[in-house]
Amino acid sequence: MKPALRPLLAALACAMATAHADSNWICPAPGNALNPAGVNPVSAGRWMDEEGMGTRIPTAHSPSGQAYNIPYDNPDETPDKKDASWKQGGFAEVGGLKVFGNQNAAGFLQYKDLKSGGYLDNFAAWGEKASEARFYEATGGAVGMDDQFYRLQFGRYNDWKVTAYYDGTPQVFTTTYRSLWAGLGGDNLALTGLKPGGTTSAAATQTNIQRALAATPTSELEAVRKKAGLRYDANLSETWKFYAAATDQKREGSQPFGAVFGGGGGGGNIEIPQSIDTSTYDVVAGLRYGDPTSSFNLRASASFFRNDIDTLTFQNPLYITTNGSNGLSPTLFTQGRFDMAPDNEAFNLKAEYARHFPDFYRGYFTSTVALGTMRQNDALIAPTQYPLTGGTVTPGNVPLAGNWNTTSALSRQSAETRIDTVLGDFGLLLRPANTLDVRGKVRYYETRNESTPYFACNPLTGQWGRLLNDGSGLSIVTASTATGANPAGTSPNAYNAAMCNLAAARALNVAPVAGNIPLGSVPYAYRQLVANVGADYRIGKSSSVSGVVERETFHRDFRERDETREDKVKLSWVDRGTLDGTIRVSYEFDDRGGGAYNTNPYLPYYSASLGPVPAANGVNLASWFKTMDQFRSFDLADRRQNILNGRVDYMVSQNMDGAFTLQMKDAAYPSDLGRTGHQRTNSATLDLSYRAGEKAVIFGYYSYQSGVMDQKGVQPNGCTAGYTYYFYSDGRIANGAIGAAPPPPPAGTTLTATQNVLASNFTDVCGNASATSPLFPDSRGWNVQSKDRNDLLGLGVKYDLGKVKLEGDFTRSLARTRIGYSYNPAALGMSATQAALAGGGLSDITFSQNIFNASALFPVSPNVLVRLVARYESGRIRDWHYDGVAANPMPTNNTVYLDGGPQDYHATVVGILLHIRM
C-alpha cells in the first residue's frame, strides 16, 4: 500500500467508528424507591475513593461549572487479554425490613412496595471473558415485591448485545374506598348484599345503601404495571448497525371510576371501581448507518394494545330516575355496562438522513420523514342489554321494546376508526464563519382522520340520537311540536320516516325539538407547520448570543378556529467568562392569533342541522347555542406569552458550587370569557453543594414556584322565543310572555332593562354575553382564580466516619392551591345560606410531604458489609373534593361516593441488610 494512502484509510477507519459507538439509552435502568438510580455494580456497597480523582486538583468541574463526583473505590478491572477464563463476580444486599405506622396509606404506597419481612434489596452478577470480549451483567432488586426490577445484558463488547429487563410499578389510587362489589379486576362487578336496581323507593334504597356502606370497611384500589423488554443490538459492519426490540406491558387492577344513570346528573350517580386488565405489545426494529459525512436511521415500529376487559358490567344499587321515556320502571336498571378502551394498533415507519457538507459553509443537513397510523375496529355493543319492554319515547310514543338491545340498532357493527400521521422535518445548519452559525428548519406534522363517520341512528326505527346509560335516559331527536315551530300536525316522529338517510331527514325541513343532540362523530384532524430561522454568534472565547424567529401554524378540521398562528422570537445569551461558572439567560416572546373564531363549528353533527330553528313563541332556544360569542377555548385562543429563563452555575470556591435558576412566564389571554387575564407561573431554585474530597458531600436546595390562572364564565339563564326578559338592579332576571303584565320587581330592586327574544333576533341577543342578554347575562357571570404555591426543600449528606459511611437525604414539599371566586348570589338565585357557605372561595387544597432516608454502611469482613437503612415519610393532603365524603358517602338518595379521598400518613421503615460480595 502506498504510504500516502495510510493516513486516509486510517482516517476513514477512525470515522467509521461512529457505527460502533452508539450508546443505547432507550433501554431503561430500572430501580425502585430504595434504589432510585437502579443498581450500579461498580458503586454498590462502595464509597468514594480516598485517592479522589487521581492526579487532578481536589475537585474538577464540568464545563458549565458543576463539580464532578468523586469516583467510587472500585478494583482495577483492566483485563488480561490472554486470560481465556471467565472473571466473575457479584453481590447481594439482603436482610429484613420493618415498617411502622400508616403503612397502608395511599401516599406511602404510591409507586412503591415496602413491607415488613425479608427483603432482597438489590443484587448483581457479572462476568467477563476478556480474551473474547464477552460479558454479562445481571442486576435487580426488590425481589418478589410489586416494585421489583431486573436487568440482564450479555454479548460481546463492540459487536453485539442482548438486553432484557423487567420492571414493576404499583400505583395505589386510594386506600379509603368502600367497595360494594365482588369481582374487582374482572369484567363483572356483583353487589354484595344490596339489591340491584334498588327497592321500593329512592328513600328506602338510600337507607339500605347507607347501612351497607357503614358496614363496609375501606379497601385499596391499585393497579400494577409490569413491563418486560428484550432488545438485540448488533454491529453489522463498520458502518451499519441493527437493532430490534420487543416489550410487553401489562396493567392489572382497579381504579376509581364513575357511572351515571338517567339523562345524566339527576338520574343517579355512583362511583364504581373500574377494572383494568390490559396488555401492550410493542416491537421495533431499526437500521443505522454512519460514515464521516452521512448518517441514516430507519425505524419501524408496531404497537398492539389489548384490553382483556372489553365491557365492564356492574350491578347498580341505586333507585334511579329515568329521563326521556315513559313506562320504564326505575328498578329495571339493575346493572350498567361500559364499553372499555378498545383493542388498537399503531404502526410507524421513520427514516432520517443527515449529511455534513464540510465544503459548503461546514453545513449540516437533517431530514426526517415518518408515516404512522393508529387504528381500531372493535365490535360495537348494543346500546342496552335491556329489552325495555313497555317503554316509549317521550314524545312520539315510539316503543322501545326490542329496538335497542341489539347490534341491529347500530348504523354499523364495528368502530372502523383510523388516524394516519405524516411527519416531515428538514433542517440546515451552516457555519459561514468561525464565530457564526445560522440555521433553519421546517417541520410539518399532520393527522389525517380516515375514520368512517359514525352516525347515531337506529336502522330499525329511523330514530336519530342515542339511548343514554343503558336506556335509563334518552337523547332522541324528535320534531318540535310547539305551536308554530312546524306545520300543524307534524308528528314528533317525522324524522323516522327517512330511515337514517341524513340528507332525506334534512330535506324534510322540520324543526327539531332541541339543537344539541349529537348525530355523529366528528372527524378531528390537524396540520401543523413550524418554520424557524436562527443564528448563534460567539463573542470571544466564552460568550455567545443567539436568536430564533419561528412561526407555528395549525390548521384544524372541525375546531372553533380553522387556523391559528403563533410567532415566536427567542433571544439567548450564554457566558462562561464573567463568573467562575456559566450564565444562561433567554427571553422568549410568543404571539398567537389566527382566523375567525366560530363558537359552534360542530353544527353539521348535531340535531340543529336537521331543520330550521323552531323559533316559535314559548320555545326555549338555549340548546341552539354551544357557548357565548366571546368565549374562547384556551387551546385556540389568542395568547401573548413572555418567558424569561435564567440559570447561573457558580463555583463559589474550589469545594463549593451553587446554582440559581429562574423562570418567569406570563401568558396573556385577551378574551373576555374562558381562560382570561394573565396566566403567570414563576419558579426559582437555589442549589448549594460542598465537597470535602472523598470524606463528605453536603448539598441543599430550595425551590419556589407560584402560579396564577384566571377564568370567567356565565351561568346560562334562558332564551325563550316570544318572551320578555326583565333585568333588575341586583342582577336578578325574570321573564314573561311578550305583552303580558311584567312581574313586579323583587323587593329592594328596580327594573334596569328589558329584552325581547324574537325569531328575528335571538341569535344576537342570546348568543352574545351582555348586560341584557337573556341567555348569558353579565349579572350571572362568575370569575374563578386559581393560585398555586409550592416550596421544596432538599438536604443531603454523605459522610465518611472512618469505618462507617453515612448517607442521608431529606425533602420537604409544601403545596397550596387557593381557589377564589366572585359572583352575584342574587343573580344566581342563591339563598343567603348558600352564599354564606360559598363565600369568596374554596378551602385551600394543601399538600405537605416529608421524606427522610438514611443509610449507614460498615464492613464486618472484606466481603461482607452491613447496611442499616431508615426511611421516614409523612404526608398530609387536604382536598375539598373529599370534604365530608368519608362521614357521609351518600348525601342524596341518588349519589354515592365511595372514595374517601387521600389520608394523612406517617410511616417508618427500618432495615438491616447484609451486602455480601461474591
Binding site: H20, A37, N158, I845, W880
Partner: protein
Amino acid sequence: MNCQGDAVAALLRAGRTGALSLLAVLALVSGAAHAIPPEAQYVGEKVCVKCHDVEARHFSGTLHAKIFRENPKNALEARVCEACHGPGSLHAPRDNHKIRENLVGYTREWGTPVAEQNAMCMNCHKGGERMHWPGSAHENNQVACSDCHNAMARFSATGLLRNASISETCQNCHAQQRAEFHKRSHMPLPEGKMSCTDCHNPHGSTTRPLLNADSVNDVCYACHAEKRGPYLWEHAPVRESCLNCHQAHGSNHDKLLVAERPYLCQQCHTSPAAHAGQFFRGDQTIGSSVLGGTPSQRMIGRACQNCHSQVHGSNHPSGARFQR
C-alpha cells in the same frame, strides 16, 4: 516515573499515522479548530497510566474501557486514553503537564472549548440518537457532553453519566422539573420507575421539547396506549395534545391536571342547555351539606368525571357525552 522517556519510546512505536488521521477526522467531521498541535503523536495507554493510575483504575470499570481494551474495531479505539484526549506526546513530559493546548480535556479547569470537546465525542457518537444534536437546544446553550456524562468512571448503571441516574443528571440544570416531580401527583421519577429519557431525547429531536417521539401524544401512548384509540367518539383537545389538560411532570392537582375540576373543564365547556356553564362553589361539597349546602356531583370527588368518566373518548355507540 519517567513519563518523558517512555513517551519517546511509545512515539517511535506508534508512528505518526494515528495522530494525522485524528486531525483529518476532526477537520472533516466537525469543522472545529483543533487545540492539539499537529506534531503531537500517540504514546500509548501505558504511558498515560504511569501518571494517571488512579484514573485508569476508575476508568477500567467503564464501557469505554472494555471496548477499547478488549475489542477495538479500529486504530482510534485501540488508543484507549488517546482516543478521547488526543495524542499525548506533548502532554507526557513532566514540564508540559499543565499546558492545556497539548491535550483535549473535558473539565472546566482544563479549558478545551466545548465545541472541540463535543467534536471528539461525536467522532464516534454522531448519528443514531444524536443525529439532531447539531442545532439542538442543548448544543445551542453550549452544553458539553461532559456536562452530563463522565466517561472516566462508572457513576451510573447505564449511560456513563456524571450522576447516579438519568434524572439526577438532568436535574443538575432542570431544577424546576425536580420540584415538579415532588408535587402531589407526579410521574414516578423519584421512585425510580421512570427517567427523563422515557419521554425526552436530550441529544436532540425534531420537536421543541426534545421529545423522543413525533408528538406529545405519541410519547404518552408508549405507556398509556389505552388512550390511543381512535375512539368512536373523540374528545378534541385530547386527540390534539394530552398537555391541554395534563402537566407532564407533576401537578398540585389530581391526575397531573393543569387545574382543578370542574374549573378545568369549564375552560372549554359552557353549554347553556346543560350544566357545564353553571357556577360551582363551596356550598356544594358534602362537608357544606350538613350546614345547609346542596352537594353537587360536579364538585365532589372526581367532579365532572363522576358522570363523564370516559373523558378520553368512548367506543360505546351511546358514548357521545363520554358517560359509557
